[in-house]
Symmetry: C2
Subunit: 336 residues, 2 copies
């Protein structure tokens, strides 16, 4: 069965689609009346985020647009120090989309939401006309999290002299997966799309001094670290040999001339943590799901090395220095 324009009309076909697919998988007490808003318990301090997902292909090795859409929004909430609670599911379907694929994606969203401890409380569905080269499905997920009482909120302007920079795992997996899928390259690379609930909550609950915390998505590590140095007026010095990249991705990059520093990830984060807490933080991340390849990759110096966009510096294997600017131009389109 295929999606038709009638599924977006707001009438009988829309209702049936919602009941047969969305309500079936997202089944929870808040969705019961299928009204336009969900009424849910709140908290005195909230984190709110939104993210749209246009990735193509919509099914890829290691994940799919549904899993990705939950992970992206959950991770954004986590990065503010919040405990993710509720997410919304706004789907834009293309006429002709296979109902089986939609169901697979929605089932995957539901499973990932369960893993991440969030509830899909409300949704919306629109249908647009078929175009030849579109992947068939766009998903927006917005999220609400609770900020625990007394929680210190990390921010890119809070880096301090001597902080250690830790990345939670191998770089470039999602980017290489999407590009490999589009090019039809067979390999063992899998997307890292994952919710980082366990590692972030362990860091917060341990009361470690995490000055900044950011998920490393489109734009890659280079872009995030440039945001850090610009917001906090400092420099970051990285050691090239410490950057974690899997052997398969390293080979993939070698062949295609890609730099893992600018490749998108969907289950990785980078933190700037006070020097005294760095080893403890590294251990907590490594003990957490999805954190086994975490590494300390560099440190923060409070004085700026020089003018704008030259303050993230990599010390190379042979002892040279390379500036890591922010990413210019396109990157990989529709990676998330």
């Amino acid at each position: 069965m295929k999606i038709t324009m009638a599924h977006g009309s707001g009438g009988e076909s829309t209702s049936r689609l919602i009941e047969d697919v969305f309500a079936k998988y997202f089944n929870n007490e808040f969705l019961s009346e299928l009204s336009d808003s969900a009424v849910v318990p709140g908290s005195s301090k909230l984190a709110i985020t939104t993210d749209s997902f246009v990735v193509t292909p919509i099914l890829f090795p290691g994940g799919d647009i549904g899993r990705l859409s939950v992970c992206g929004t959950v991770n954004d909430l986590l990065m503010s120090g919040a405990v993710p609670k509720y997410i919304t599911c706004g789907c834009i379907l293309e006429e002709g989309l296979d109902m089986e694929i939609l169901e697979k994606v929605i089932a995957s969203m539901a499973e990932t939401a369960k893993e991440a401890g969030v509830i899909v409380v409300t949704g919306d569905t629109k249908v647009v006309e078929k175009h030849s080269d579109v992947s068939g499905l766009i998903i927006n997920t917005s999220g609400v999290g609770f900020i625990p009482e007394g929680q210190i909120i990390p921010g890119p302007s809070k880096l301090e002299d001597g902080d250690k920079i830790i990345v939670s795992g191998n770089l470039g997996d999602h980017h290489a997966t999407i590009l490999g899928s589009r090019m039809g390259i067979e390999n063992d690379i899998r997307s890292d799309n994952a919710p980082l609930v366990e590692m972030t909550r362990k860091l917060m609950d341990a009361g470690l001094i995490v000055h900044a915390m950011r998920d490393v998505t489109r734009g890659g590590l280079g872009t995030v670290l440039n945001e850090f140095v610009n917001a906090s007026k400092c420099s970051i010095i990285l050691n090239e040999t410490d950057l974690p990249v899997s052997a398969s991705v390293k080979d993939f990059c070698g062949i295609l001339g890609l730099d893992p520093m600018y490749m998108g990830n969907e289950g990785k984060m980078v933190i700037s943590v006070s020097a005294k807490d760095a080893e403890k933080a590294l251990l907590l991340i490594k003990e957490s799901k999805y954190g086994e390849n975490a590494k300390i990759i560099g440190e923060v110096k409070k004085e700026k090395e020089s003018s704008d966009n030259t303050n993230v510096i990599v010390t190379t294997k042979i002892g040279g220095k390379r500036v890591v600017g922010p990413m210019y131009g396109e990157g990989l389109p529709r990676i998330c």
Copy 2:
């Protein structure tokens, strides 16, 4: 200047787009760090909603996709008895979109948000490839509202025998506007896209017994009233002569063979209110912005007239009876 794929990369071009357009208009304290989540004050009971807007054309008489996207989400929150507080702005831009049009839409969102008393706290931007027949811009707005202490939450299952049905103004304006725009018909019909904050808050604050409240959007009044009778196991009897439709829309419908009962609106609501409070409710709505054409259009009978989908009945001008079923099939595609 045109939108390019680079604006969706997550790198330097994306940052500039956000600063030059989004941050400029949505300027508020919560957006200051431009991080992925906004941290905001909360409340003990929340309403959460999401809505994607795919309307074409994106600029139309009386409004635009930006104003529509704020009104749609604000109205969904209001219908749950919530005070709308925060909204998110997720934009999917098509490569080639004119920057001036984007700026016009975002300025309109900001103005409408101000009118509705909500803050755009966070956003996200993606860029997809150009297709020949797409309008250039899709917006998702998700919203969070606070449910006041002790607020009774209206719901479609709560209709009671003798309730009066009130519609807040003329039917079909938005639908006729979009269809007229696409067909190039010149007339004086304008979209009704509007935030219904004043009328809903007046009803809530007066403590009137409003059993159900719903904005009348795609699918039209017929679809909403069918949801009411199905959820509450009752019938609704309407008087045809009481249905408010402007002379221009009446003419437009006459020419094209359209039924205002199934036409979409974007600034209208329908309520089911206890008989004793009906006149008071009507007066409060009529005194509110966008409510001057409100009318009592019918009433609720607790016994069902008959089997499913035949329980919304219109008494016609000449005394006959006509069943109003839910809408089947397409309706008007991409009306919102």
